[in-house]
């Protein structure tokens, strides 16, 4: 086990290095530069001074070496080009801390409701509760989140005026975004749990258990649910890392100062340091989450053993 984890961590580091290098050279190969946001051409001298100040006049490979040196020796991701004076590391830490609040709540809320709905749908297959749950699931997956967000904002903030339209800092600011974000999770898990349960309920060992005379409640509780939940853990990995990186659309609509914004804006702005910083953060979280999930699997499922 220990050897396995060490091996995985080494692989992780290699993956990170490849991702970092690939992102670095790719982003420098997109046309445009950090002055693009000004949406106009500056006079030559002004541009040159700007490039020199931020080291953009150097060849890309040299810039990469400087970047890696700063990262490895000082642990520094540098300063944003779009927002002078703001450290990338601080920006990521501060903003992901914000993103995690509505995102985390949405995930917990979505998981609970989603699993309950999934169980109901599986047990009442092809009856009305199943249809209702699957309708909710389809709506949750197909209706774009910005529509849901705008709708909720209009109903609860403009019409009913019981919640603020947008903002951050007050507990009531979290409610709408968390609810909106949880829809996707509810839908995903309801469908996933349902199909897994049906799958498990068709297995021979369930038939065996029933034949032994185990009560239906105990069959579901001990045999079906445990086995049906296991595959859900795979999904969970990506979602847990996702709550730190935030949701661009929901954060934008509800004015949440989270990290989601930077994933899109940094690319549009050619904010190179921000692009690479946020990429490293997201990739690192994702890989780490996968590792934890894999370890969790081996602990939870005796059928899986790590080598």
């Amino acid at each position: 086990m220990k050897k396995y984890i060490i091996k995985r961590i080494i692989y992780m580091l290699i993956t990170m290095l490849i991702i970092t290098a690939a992102t670095f050279f790719l982003m420098h190969s997109i046309p445009g530069d950090p002055l693009s946001y000004m949406a106009r051409n500056l006079p030559e001298q002004t541009r040159e001074n700007y490039y020199a100040t931020y080291g953009l006049d150097k060849p890309v490979f040299e810039q990469f070496i400087i970047f890696m040196k700063n990262l490895l020796t000082e642990g520094s991701l540098g300063e944003s080009l779009r927002y002078p004076g703001r450290s990338i590391t601080d920006t990521i830490l501060q903003n992901s801390r914000v993103s995690v609040v509505p995102g985390g709540l949405a995930l917990i809320f979505g998981l609970i409701i989603g699993i309950i709905l999934g169980i109901i749908a599986a047990l009442k297959k092809n009856k009305w509760p199943d249809y209702v749950v699957m309708f909710i699931a389809i709506v949750g997956i197909t209706v774009p989140v910005f529509i849901l967000a705008s709708l909720f904002q209009y109903v609860f903030a403009v019409r009913l005026q019981i919640l603020p339209t947008q903002g951050w800092g007050q507990p009531e600011n979290i409610i709408l975004p968390a609810v909106v974000m949880s829809f996707g999770t509810i839908a995903t898990y309801a469908r996933y749990v349902k199909s897994n349960m049906l799958d498990v309920m068709g297995q021979d060992y369930i038939l065996t258990a029933e034949a032994k005379g185990v009560s239906r409640f105990n069959v579901i509780k001990k045999h079906v649910l445990r086995n049906a939940f296991l595959p859900c853990i795979t999904l969970l990995g990506g979602q847990i890392s996702g709550i730190f990186t935030g949701s661009f659309v929901v954060e934008k609509i509800f004015g949440i100062p989270g990290l989601g914004f930077y994933y899109i804006s940094s690319i549009n702005d050619r904010d190179y340091t921000m692009i690479i910083g946020t990429t490293i953060f997201a990739a690192g979280l994702f890989i780490l989450a996968q590792l934890i999930i894999d370890i969790a699997y081996s602990l939870l499922d005796p059928r899986i053993r790590v080598q």
Binding site: T46, G85, Q153, T165
Partner: protein, 558 residues
């Protein structure tokens, strides 16, 4: 008994009237201060918004309108542009008075007794430092080009001279002297740009690169001082009691919420959590124009939306072809079909609100719609055929395919492109292909000359026609048309140092005429600003060049 009732009533009335006279009356929420006959609300606050987080409050770095909105309120430029009856008037701000020598090369500013928010006096040295730092190449300032007219400005900015050799000096603590390279008639228009804002050397050096990146890393000397800044969320400023003109600042607190989503802005304004909003969407403009208790105002903005041609392209090198594509556009139809009449057709390069010194609006002096006069009744199709003949391309327009490049991948831009595809086909008979790239790619391709015809907008830098005209000089490189015209260059060169305003205006007029006749650029639309405020908000700016910020704003009857 009667007497008793009467006296009770009298006491009652007196109590009521006393209450009404009271200074800060809690119940009615008004104060005893009146401005222009309006009784001020006891609580003076204002909630507004920015659609993006300011990049930095270091005036030397960054150049976004968002940080400028804040800087105008927390920093004191030498002068400000106020408005009276719709016209701009330059008023005292950091400087109480100013004068120049006879040929306009040396300007002296006598500073007001202003203080920084930490209690230190504002000195001429602070202005010197701010200007030097803008031009210092090490700062990498994107605003340096604005003030290279200062003596040795260019040499300092390209590193040939040290900042000490710049033509800016503090004669004493309250007197600032600026020497220019040559007479620069529009120089005063630069005094309220961010390139010339004061900065405190000790504070800038204390915080280094992080100066202005956080609310705590800056000192203020404007009407307001910064209280808090939660990135991407909100900025709060409060009245700066150290400010020289604090008696005439009414708001105690201004909050800018940072809201990127337009619909959220409208919903917030609708629900009253914002006191103001502006819109470029017809549906919302209609809705808020009819909303009770809301006042709407509009003014022509200083942004022109235009097409530009690659004059090195084998087709657009021909002047008649450029004319054909310029004249083929029905600008009224563009305005109604694409913009639902919320903007204004444009027939000039310099937009309406631009003035020349004391002579008032430039357009009123030289003619509102010069392009319309140039176009006259000429048939664009004939011009196209003439151009094709000159280029030896035969006489069948349907053999010609032109690419229209736009910077953005939005649906709106697609619709814009499709409109022109249809119109150019109808009027000229040519085929148009639309090329949509996101902005960085678009900019990179157009700059390298890899395009034929493009669409962009340009917002003027400062209030003088030259700010629009000099970007078309041969060596400016601002808009990649690669157009060169010696006569145009020399007219702009002359105008840039002509101190006589009428003579200067005449030079501008001639230059603009050449530009519109040769058509490297094709103005299509002038943006119109549509603003909304609740009617309790008074004194908001209604001219585009206004640089008063929130200094004069107050609420009455909230």
């Amino acid at each position: 008994m009667k007497k008793k009732i009467l006296s009770v009533m009298l006491v009652g009335i007196m109590t009521l009237s006393l209450a009404a006279c009271g200074g800060n009356n809690e119940e009615s929420g008004t104060s005893d201060v009146t401005v222009d006959g309006n009784q001020l609300d006891a609580e003076q606050y204002y909630n507004t918004y920015l659609s993006s987080d300011p990049t930095t409050l270091d005036s030397v770095k960054g150049n976004d309108t968002y940080s400028w909105s804040i800087l105008l309120n927390i920093m004191e430029p030498l002068t400000r542009l106020d408005e009276q009856d719709g016209e701009n008037v330059r008023v005292a701000a950091g400087a109480e008075s100013w004068e120049s020598n006879d040929d306009g090369t040396v300007w002296t500013f006598h500073l007001n007794d202003n203080k920084w928010s930490d209690g230190e006096p504002v000195t001429a040295g602070d202005y010197v430092y701010g200007i030097q730092r803008t031009l210092n190449p090490d700062s990498g300032s994107v605003n340096s080009y604005l003030i290279t007219c200062i003596k040795n400005g260019e040499a300092v900015n390209n590193g040939e001279m040290s900042v000490d050799q710049l033509g800016v000096r503090a004669v004493d603590d309250k007197t600032l002297e600026i020497t220019l390279e040559q007479p620069t008639p529009y120089f005063l228009s630069l005094t309220d740009t961010r390139a010339m804002l004061p900065q405190r050397q000790d504070i800038v050096e204390q915080y280094g690169d992080t100066y202005g990146a956080e609310a705590s890393n800056i000192v203020c000397n404007g009407p307001f001082k910064i209280e808090s800044w939660t990135h991407n969320s909100e900025i709060v400023v409060t009245k700066n009691d150290e400010y020289w003109d604090a008696d005439n600042v009414y708001l105690d607190k201004v909050t800018w919420q940072i809201i990127q989503e337009e619909t959220t802005v409208f919903n917030s304004f609708d629900s009253g959590s914002l006191d103001t909003c502006s819109s470029g969407t017809p549906e919302w403009i209609d809705r808020f124009s009819e909303k009770d208790g809301v006042e709407s105002y509009e003014y022509e903005n200083t942004t022109v939306r235009y097409h530009f041609y690659n004059t090195q392209d084998e087709l657009f090198q021909n002047e008649n072809i450029r004319k054909a594509f310029t004249y083929a556009i029905d600008r009224d139809d563009v305005n109604s079909t694409i913009y639902f009449d919320i903007h204004k057709p444009s027939y000039s390069w310099v937009m309406g609100p631009v003035t020349t010194g004391e002579n008032g609006f430039y357009r009123e002096q030289v003619g509102e719609n010069p392009l319309q006069d140039i176009m006259g009744e000429q048939d664009p199709k004939e011009l196209l055929l003439k151009g094709m003949e000159e280029l030896g391309l035969g006489d069948d327009p349907s053999t010609i395919t032109v690419t229209l490049s736009v910077g953005g991948t939005t649906q709106w831009l697609r619709t814009y492109g499709e409109y022109f595809q249809q119109k150019f086909k109808d009027v000229l008979g040519v085929n148009i292909e639309l090329e949509q790239n996101e902005w960085g790619t678009f900019q990179s391709k157009t700059n390298s000359g890899d395009y034929q015809m493009g669409y962009m907008s340009w917002t003027i830098d400062y209030n003088d026609p030259i700010s629009m005209l000099e970007i078309m000089k041969s060596d400016a490189g601002s808009i990649p048309t690669f157009w060169q015209n010696d006569e145009y260059d020399s007219l702009i060169e002359q105008a840039s140092r002509e101190m006589d305003e009428s003579a200067r205006t005449e030079l501008y007029k001639q230059a603009e005429q050449i530009l519109l006749e040769e058509c490297p650029v094709c103005p299509v639309t002038n943006e119109v600003y549509h603003g909304f405020v609740y009617s309790y908000v008074k004194n908001v700016a209604t001219t585009p060049f206004n640089t008063m910020g929130m200094k004069k704003v107050y609420t009455s009857g909230r």
